[in-house]
Subunit: 167 residues, 2 copies
């Protein structure tokens, strides 16, 4: 195992947790599913951190990172939210879930196809998916409508040209 | 709308069908979910065909295509297969589903990070996901064990260096 592949192990961990969140959605374990999304976020943070520390970065790693991010922070939050609550609103709820994934994919494809430095353009999918996961965890204590409203807002913010500082 | 974005509409259709297959998995409609995967395959074929016909091709389009492919031909078949049958085998079934998605992601990341012409290296995820969808559709008529066996074989074939002619 060469050092350059170590960050990719965290990325695979990210993807694995995202798919596991979907398995938990099938089992109607929405809170635990949302926690998997947050843990996937930790993995995503670590992969970037480790890559910078080891000064290894590759096209392969970047591709893998985007693929994992779409599953863990786009598909998994959308499916958990749909199964938990959005399905109550029929086609509108379905459209909100599908729209969230579409916007996340457009954000990732745009990010990878442009070279820039400084600020992010549009809210990163990791942040959007993490926020949806947190709303899912606290949904018993807040009005149900918060979930679709925040998902529509985040969908728009992902594809908007709003500037978000890197952290 | 510029012509160069037309192939991307097919790619978004591919992604949309993949997410819809996951929604059908939640509803225990596995056969219909598998049909969505096959329809996503038609969209994936058309996006490449249209891009070549219009002679438009972009980094953005390629990124979006990979993202859609992982969801429709990696995550959706794995989750449908898990919900339908693999879950009967506990952690082994879970590992087979997770392994299929991991290998699909590795195949896509390797494909995007290398430039080449002629043959594909490793079985494309579109083919692997399509085969799993067909097995899901016919699972009533074939032994249950075919599903995990073929998924393990396809997982390996995706990351192998086997040469597959382009078609």
């Amino acid at each position: 195992m060469k050092g350059k592949h170590i960050p990719n192990l965290f990325t695979l961990g990210n993807l694995l947790l995202g798919v596991f969140a979907l398995v938990l959605a099938l089992n109607e374990e929405y809170g635990r599913g949302a926690i998997m999304i947050l843990l996937a976020g930790v993995m995503d943070y670590l992969d970037g951190k480790v890559a910078r520390k080891l000064q290894v970065s590759s096209d392969f790693g970047k591709e893998l990172d985007s693929l994992a991010d779409l599953v863990s922070f786009g598909v998994a939050p959308a499916i958990l939210a749909y199964a938990l609550k959005l399905s109550d609103w029929g086609y509108l709820g379905l459209a909100i879930a599908l729209g969230f994934v579409m916007c996340g994919a457009l954000r990732l494809a745009r990010f990878n196809a442009t070279t820039f430095s400084g600020n992010f353009m549009g809210v990163p999918i990791t942040a959007a998916g993490g926020i949806v996961a947190i709303v899912i965890i606290y949904l018993g204590n807040i009005p149900d409508l918060v979930l679709p409203m925040i998902m529509m807002l985040l969908s728009w913010l992902m594809i908007s040209k709003i500037k978000v500082p890197k952290f």
